[in-house]
């Protein structure tokens, strides 16, 4: 081949060669896009209803081609794990790798077989696309790359939690759950996509993605540090939290287009694992972080040593205020001690949370009943601010015929007796009225006592609600109760406690045909012809609870504003009385993590009030 010198400019006639095309008729060849293959990675589509705004697509994109855009018309719902963010894609950056498709927990984002988009020079923004269900040009193209079970990047199934067998646990109050091993915990933590929906949903906004990552990295101390930023009841919440975070977890979604079985990260069990595997001394050291050594000179009284009161006390003590907690019972913990049985929450774990809280300088006066041993007025006079967090310790009664018999008792009263070590002779047969977790707690406690004392379980739970969607108790409580030999009669309404010669002989119930109206409000329909008799030596009522507000006294009750039976508070827990705040179950309903969140809110507000 002839070498051409780089300085060679060619013939001067070369431009004239182009003249040969001058007189020719132009030919235009129509170019139709060829149909793409079935799994072509073309432009994205996004199902706006399936998309939950978790941002997993954005996080996995190595080219930073995805931006999450706020869509105000989409309603956010943190508890359900729905954000109003949706992905927009920059096709100047996208390399069509489809990792966004393969990671999407709900299979909302997919790719089509559409691949042609042109624009003139002024319209380059058109390559930044907010994909909808109809694609980039609002033309419906066939789907290209979509996720399959093989291409799904998510590990959908949680590591199973071991439990004590029913026959081994039925005659004792030992903890039922085994807990994770290190290997199981790391595997479980590795499933997390770090979307943060759990943190949004948690009432205390615990930094779950951070502590899960720390567990994954094997750094349990760091995990506990993350926990103590928001929750001084991490042992308790590692066992009995209502785990709203798990309900919001992006992995808990049913993948409508692909994988059908998807389980949320076991966030609660991971928390339990980290807390159980860091020493008490280290946790105490961690809890001290952020504590000021400057005394404010202000004092705060907390009435009630439950999760709300003690969380507030923990925060306020760390801010340098003198905090005194008044507790009517011999030990702290409130309903977590006197309502939750040991097989769900061992007392030593609760004791450890309390010990850490008192280690920052919180003083608890036990066996002091406000209103009897000390007046509200005196507490007010001796302190700059007062927090009322007394929980819901009064049990409600059905007040059906015969319910005033001495063999008809309230669940909360019995549950309070068990950890106090009171000698309690279990009845040989018992019927529990109620279908919530308290009903299950007393039924399962009673079953254990019966097995120990009589070697036989005879407990019937009679609930208005039908098993399934409307049943109040957690599914695991129901299944474990059944395993332990407890009979659950759902859709049964209590008619009367049957009394013969002054002695209780049993409970009569009728069938509940339906319980809620089409708006979800209570509207029971009974079939009185379907009457059943349940013989029992004891009937236990577990239908609801209320706060004992008598400690406030008539004048303060009159001075306070009320909101449909509860003390009226603002968003920060402040009541209409300047020096009084209220928090926890008594104003927000029963829930540990909500109580913890409430404690923080109240402490922040009181600190602002005292340091203004």
């Amino acid at each position: 081949m002839k070498k051409i010198d780089y300085r060679d400019k060619g013939s001067i006639l070369n431009p004239l060669k182009n003249l040969q095309f001058f007189a020719r008729k132009p030919i235009t060849e129509k170019l139709e896009p060829r149909p793409a293959s079935a799994s072509y990675r073309g432009f994205h589509i996004n199902d706006m209803d399936l998309c939950i705004g978790c941002s997993s697509c954005q996080k996995i994109c190595d080219n930073a081609a995805i931006t999450m855009v706020e869509v105000p018309s989409i309603k956010e719902d943190a508890a359900k794990g729905i954000r109003n963010l949706r992905p927009a894609i920059d096709y100047g950056r996208c390399c069509w790798c489809a990792l966004c498709v393969d990671i999407c927990p709900t299979s909302a984002i997919e790719m089509t077989r559409e691949y042609v988009h042109t624009c003139d020079g002024d319209d380059t923004d058109s390559y930044f696309v907010f994909p909808s269900e109809n694609g980039i040009h609002d033309l419906k193209f066939a789907k290209g790359w979509t996720k399959t079970e093989d291409s799904d990047l998510l590990d959908r199934i949680r590591r199973p939690m071991g439990e004590m067998k029913p026959e081994a646990r039925i005659n004792n109050f030992d903890e039922v759950v085994d807990g994770f091993t290190m290997e199981m915990a790391v595997e479980e933590a590795s499933r997390c996509v770090d979307c943060g929906l759990c943190e949004d949903a948690c009432p205390a906004h615990m930094h779950a993605p951070n502590y899960i990552r720390s567990i994954y990295e094997g750094n349990l101390e760091q995990a506990v540090e993350w926990m103590y930023e928001t929750n001084p009841f991490s042992h308790v919440c590692g066992r009995v939290c209502t785990h709203i975070c798990e309900d919001a977890c992006s992995l808990g979604r049913v993948d409508e287009n692909g994988v059908k079985n998807s389980q949320p990260i076991a966030i609660r069990w991971l928390k339990r694992f980290a807390m159980d595997n860091v020493s008490k001394a280290t946790i105490k050291h961690i809890a001290q972080k952020g504590k000021t050594h400057i005394k404010s000179g202000k004092s705060v009284a907390v009435i009630g040593a439950g999760p709300a009161g003690l969380t507030a006390a923990f925060d306020l003590a760390k801010k340098g205020h003198r905090v005194t907690v008044y507790e009517a019972l011999p030990k702290a913990g409130g309903m977590t001690r006197y309502g939750i049985p040991n097989y769900r929450l061992p007392e030593d774990r609760l004791d450890q949370d309390i010990e850490v809280i008192t280690s920052v300088g919180v003083k608890i006066n036990y066996n002091v009943r406000v209103g009897t041993d000390i007046s509200m007025q005196q507490i007010h006079q001796e302190n700059d601010a007062v927090i009322l967090a007394i929980g819901l310790h009064n049990g409600r009664s059905t007040r059906i015929s015969g319910s005033d018999n001495k063999a008809v008792v309230k669940a909360v009263d019995l549950l309070r007796m068990i950890p106090q070590g009171d000698k309690f002779i279990a009845p040989k047969s018992a019927v529990v009225i109620g279908g919530g977790n308290v009903a299950m707690d007393i039924a399962r406690s009673m079953a254990r006592l019966q097995m120990k004392q009589h070697n036989k379980v005879n407990v019937v739970v009679s609930a208005l609600e039908a098993l399934g969607n409307s049943f109040l108790a957690d599914d695991e409580e129901v299944s474990e109760s059944l395993e332990e030999g407890i009979t659950i009669l759902d859709s049964r309404g209590p008619k009367q406690c049957v009394i013969s010669k002054g002695r209780l002989t049993g409970l009569e119930t009728v069938n509940v045909l339906s319980i809620f109206d089409n708006k979800g409000r209570f509207s029971p329909k009974y079939d009185n012809s379907d009457l059943q008799y349940h013989p029992a030596e004891m009937v236990i009522e577990a239908i609801g609870q209320s706060a004992d507000i008598t400690l406030l006294g008539k004048d303060l009750i009159e001075e306070l504003d009320w909101d449909r039976g509860r003390i009226k508070i603002n968003d920060n827990g402040s009541t209409s009385v300047e020096w009084l705040w209220s928090a926890g179950d008594m104003v927000k309903g029963p829930d540990v993590i909500n109580a913890v969140a409430d404690g923080h809110r109240v402490a922040n507000d009181i600190d602002s009030y005292l340091t203004r």
Partner: protein, 173 residues
């Protein structure tokens, strides 16, 4: 102050037995609502402030029924029927069960008040339902059916309230 919490009009049932026209029946019904309204209104200061809202709502609801029944009596279509005689149920004690002197105690709690109110609405509903059954077909029957439905709906609302307050520790729990 014990009598403050007792509802009067013990003679209502006897009156009802002897009254035979729709106008007279409606007069008793209006009186029944008025008595209840006044009863709840008098009860308001005698209950603890935290549950006062409940009694205030009951008084307001009875006032609404009082207004509704009064307007009904003034309605021209109903007026035409007012003089028609109907059979009142002979062995009916439902109204009387609750228009008799009822003692709620000095400081009744929310459950006591709700149980009383529920029973009262139940009695009224059954009474109107029986009257509707005994009335001849037409507007007269329709009127009593309407009254029965009104009381039934009132009772239903109270049942919902009862569940929300008693069975769960308060609304929204």
């Amino acid at each position: 102050m014990k009598n403050t919490n007792k509802e009067g009009h013990s003679k209502s049932y006897k009156k009802l037995q002897t009254k035979k026209t729709l106008e007279e029946i409606l007069d008793i019904a209006i009186s029944f609502e008025k008595t209840a309204r006044d009863f709840y209104t008098a009860l308001i200061p005698n209950v603890s402030k935290n549950i006062r809202y409940l009694v205030e709502e009951l008084a307001e609801e009875e006032q609404q029924h009082f207004d509704l029944f009064t307007n009904l009596k003034e309605n021209s279509e109903v007026k035409k029927q007012l003089v028609k005689k109907i059979n009142t149920p002979v062995e009916d004690h439902k109204f009387s069960d609750f228009v008799k002197l009822v003692d709620l105690g000095d400081n009744p709690d929310d459950q006591t008040i709700l149980v009383y109110a529920l029973a009262r609405e139940d009695a009224a509903m059954k009474q109107y339902r029986d009257l509707a059954e005994n009335a001849p077909k037409g507007e007269l029957k329709d009127t009593f059916s309407f009254l029965a439905i009104e009381e039934a709906e009132h009772k239903l609302e109270l049942e919902k309230k009862y569940y929300e307050i008693i069975h769960s520790g308060g609304p929204g729990m």
